[in-house]
């Protein structure tokens, strides 16, 4: 890959930026360039670690982040996305997810689903899915997993040969809506749109050296 400086100096920018959104979407493999689904977990939480361990056992590439998503974005994720968009899944708190949702837009990725895991006063966890209605049964499976729900969520997120595509437009996560469950964690997937979809980010991503 050309460095940005080399790219600029070569004067190649304009010529290389003719890629269409369709081409960007075609390039948007469901999995990362090396064929793996990228998994991101928040290592601050036991649930995040359990999710990561389960995902790793299933062959996923797992990145652990902490409170500052910025370093991970700048050093790891954005450089990878510059090779083309791919699907991400993970278990984090709400704020990092909100950041990822906004940042990933520039690379043609949108949120497929979110599952909020809210701790109940009785110590249990309530699982609520937002997104593709076809995944509704997942929350029951997570409830059935009891205390092992994080590993169960990893299994669901990494199951199947193909990850789901975004089927409905989701607004960015509303952190205030979770005012009564500020301790919630979220399982989520952010992925490229279907091939040929018009999405600003996919087009803009094609311009980035």
């Amino acid at each position: 890959m050309l460095s940005r400086r080399a790219f600029v100096e070569a004067g190649a920018a304009l010529a290389a930026l003719a890629a269409s959104r369709a081409r960007a979407a075609e390039h948007a493999n469901q999995r990362a360039p090396d064929g793996q689904l990228r998994v991101i977990i928040d290592r601050s939480f036991d649930e995040g670690l359990a999710f990561g361990a389960a995902a790793e056992r299933r062959g996923a590439h797992v990145d652990a982040v902490d409170a500052d998503l910025g370093s991970f974005w700048m050093r790891t994720l954005e450089p990878r996305l510059r090779h083309g968009p791919f699907a991400l899944a993970g278990l984090t708190a709400g704020a990092p997810l909100f950041c990822l949702e906004l940042l990933c837009r520039d690379y043609g990725l949108t949120t497929v689903y979110r599952i909020e895991h809210a701790r109940r006063p009785d110590g249990g966890v309530r699982h609520t899915l937002t997104g593709d209605p076809a995944l509704d049964g997942w929350t029951e499976r997570l409830a059935a997993a009891g205390a092992q729900w994080a590993a169960g969520a990893a299994e669901l997120a990494t199951s199947g040969a193909a990850v789901p595509r975004p089927t409905i437009a989701l607004e960015p996560l509303d952190l205030r809506a979770h005012e009564h469950s500020a301790q919630s964690l979220f399982t989520w997937m952010i992925a490229p749109p279907p091939v040929g979809a018009t999405l600003v980010g996919a087009a803009l991503a094609a311009t980035r050296p």
Partner: protein
């Protein structure tokens, strides 16, 4: 097809977009609902209400020549454009246009770092260059210069500077507009100008000397709508030999008076080089009823009341944080002098919180807890998870009054705004002030936004009351969310709004068709005045 902006027929709108497609390519004009929704203000105080502002479409040019062509077409149809760079300035309006129906001119594709001159310590960038981009460029190329980053660091150098954002490092860098040197602008008529020394094509000093010859016009392109800035130069800070981060705490509420007097003197003398924060560990977001009573009393709680409460908490009332950059011997002398200057405050405590020698390895940079003070962009403001019982901090608007750096003013402001929050049944959010600028203090207050109309109506009432009351007390804002810009400009109404009249006189001269960001900072073109 999307709906046209008000006053523009669907046919003309379609024709204009079609012609723009011919300029930038069809794939760079975004018209679907899903695409346009991406420019929605995620923290809008009007979320879901009829007055919420939306774009009608978006266009992403790649070059100055494409922008010029788009602007010329926009003039033919009076098509309103709303330029954005990265568009992530959420607490001030994000990428949603001020005038609903505008076409967002998305400049993210123009993301080239055109020059970094290590010897001159300058750079020249396009609007799409983010703080992340520039930091990564400097690290990757082993260039021993620092950026001064906004916090959070996902914004762009040009957008943040034009909105007069601030950072944390040295005085020459952290006022981001003041740190720029040289600018290129596409005017609303499609003409292209370079400001400062850049107007002299052979000049070797475009990024070194700000003024050029004749009237200095750069300022009129900040917080305005007179043109589209396509290049800006910035001064960069030379990486120092070392840095020492410190904190100074004082125990009592009224101690902030001598503390701020001392800190201000030290900053004016350049003994303290960095942004200086003065915040209260006591005035936090806790719902403790006694604290809430004190905070919302409107100043009737005495210093003695506050000091009793503070003593029971076992914490100092005020804590100041700042950082020294430079040679270690010089830093040691600066720190000693600072302690001498503040030692007369009873109970003052001095603490060294972190020290660094440069360059940092990637691992060391990663481990820095307060990254923006070392010019490292961060998203740490979006903390991982809220503390038990704490209110979520996102989304919110920033209410940003400016006060003189005097302790009496800081206390009076806290009393005034605390009562306003309390009267609306809210817990005050104000914790302290930041000295981005050398002789004023910005006192950010988080004003919560929601995705329901009832709560947002209360938010808007709170925000408007804060603006009006604080202006009356002599503390107007330095920057304001797009929805409240008309209100903000009313607060600068000397001589029956002479400043606003001047702004609109300029608008009429520079952009008679009103195609660039109509309504931004309440500057409307003639045909929309009193109608938008």
């Amino acid at each position: 097809m999307p709906n046209p902006p008000p006053g523009l027929s669907q046919r003309d709108f379609n024709t204009a977009l079609g012609r723009i497609e011919e300029v930038v390519g069809r794939e760079w004009v975004f018209k679907s609902d899903a695409d346009v929704a991406l420019y929605r203000d995620a923290y809008s105080p009007l979320w879901g209400e009829s007055e919420e502002r939306f774009a009608s479409a978006a266009v992403a040019p790649i070059s100055v020549e494409e922008i010029r062509a788009v602007v010329r077409i926009a003039n033919e149809y009076r098509l309103p454009l709303y330029p954005i760079s990265t568009g992530r300035n959420l607490t001030y309006g994000g990428s949603a246009p001020v005038y609903s129906g505008s076409v967002v001119l998305d400049l993210k594709r123009m993301n080239r770092i055109l020059d970094v001159n290590e010897r001159d310590k300058t750079c020249l960038v396009e609007p799409g260059v983010s703080y992340f981009d520039m930091y990564r460029h400097l690290r990757t190329n082993n260039i021993r210069l620092w950026i001064d980053t906004a916090d959070p660091g996902w914004g762009g150098l040009i957008g943040n500077a034009l909105d007069r954002g601030g950072g944390y490092t040295g005085i020459d860098y952290r006022d981001h507009f003041d740190a720029h040197c040289g600018m290129e602008v596409v005017l609303a008529n499609g003409d292209l100008v370079r400001l400062g020394m850049g107007a002299s094509p052979q000049a070797k000093t475009w990024q070194l000397f700000k003024y050029g010859l004749g009237p200095w016009l750069d300022g009129i392109f900040s917080q305005s709508n007179f043109g589209i800035v396509t290049k800006m130069g910035f001064w960069l800070m030379e990486e120092p030999e070392a840095a020492l981060q410190v904190s100074v705490t004082v125990p009592k509420r009224r101690d902030v008076v001598p503390l701020l007097d001392g800190l201000h003197s030290l900053m004016c003398a350049h003994t303290i080089p960095s942004q200086t924060t003065v915040a209260s560990p006591i005035m936090n977001g806790s719902a403790d009823p006694e604290l809430v009573r004190l905070r919302t009393s409107g100043g009737t709680a005495s210093d003695a009341d506050w000091d009793r409460y503070t003593a029971a908490q076992g914490r100092p009332f005020w804590s100041s944080a700042f950082i020294y950059y430079g040679a270690q011997k010089v830093i040691a002398a600066q720190w000693e002098h600072t302690k001498d200057r503040l030692a007369s405050i009873a109970g003052v405590q001095f603490r060294e919180t972190a020290s660094y020698t440069f360059p940092l390895s990637d691992g060391q940079a990663e481990a820095v807890p307060d990254k923006p003070r070392l010019g490292i962009p961060s998203l740490n403001l979006f903390s991982s998870r809220n503390a038990p019982g704490a209110q979520p901090s996102e989304g919110h608007l920033d209410f940003s009054p400016m006060i003189p750096p005097r302790g009496e003013e800081l206390i009076a402001l806290a009393d005034t705004t605390g009562k306003i929050y309390g009267d609306l049944g809210l817990i005050p959010t104000f914790v302290g002030g930041l000295m981005f600028h050398p002789r004023t203090m910005i006192c950010f207050h988080a004003v919560p936004t929601y995705r329901n109309a009832a709560d947002n109506q209360r938010t808007r009432r709170l925000f408007e009351t804060l603006v009006r009351t604080c202006t009356d007390r002599g503390w107007p804002i330095y920057r304001i969310h797009a929805h409240f810009q008309a209100l903000g400009m009313q607060m600068f109404g000397f001589n029956d709004g002479a400043l606003h009249r001047l702004h609109e006189t300029l608008k009429d001269a520079i952009d008679p068709n009103g195609v660039v960001s109509p309504g931004r900072y309440s500057i409307w073109p003639k045909h929309l005045r009193g109608r938008a």
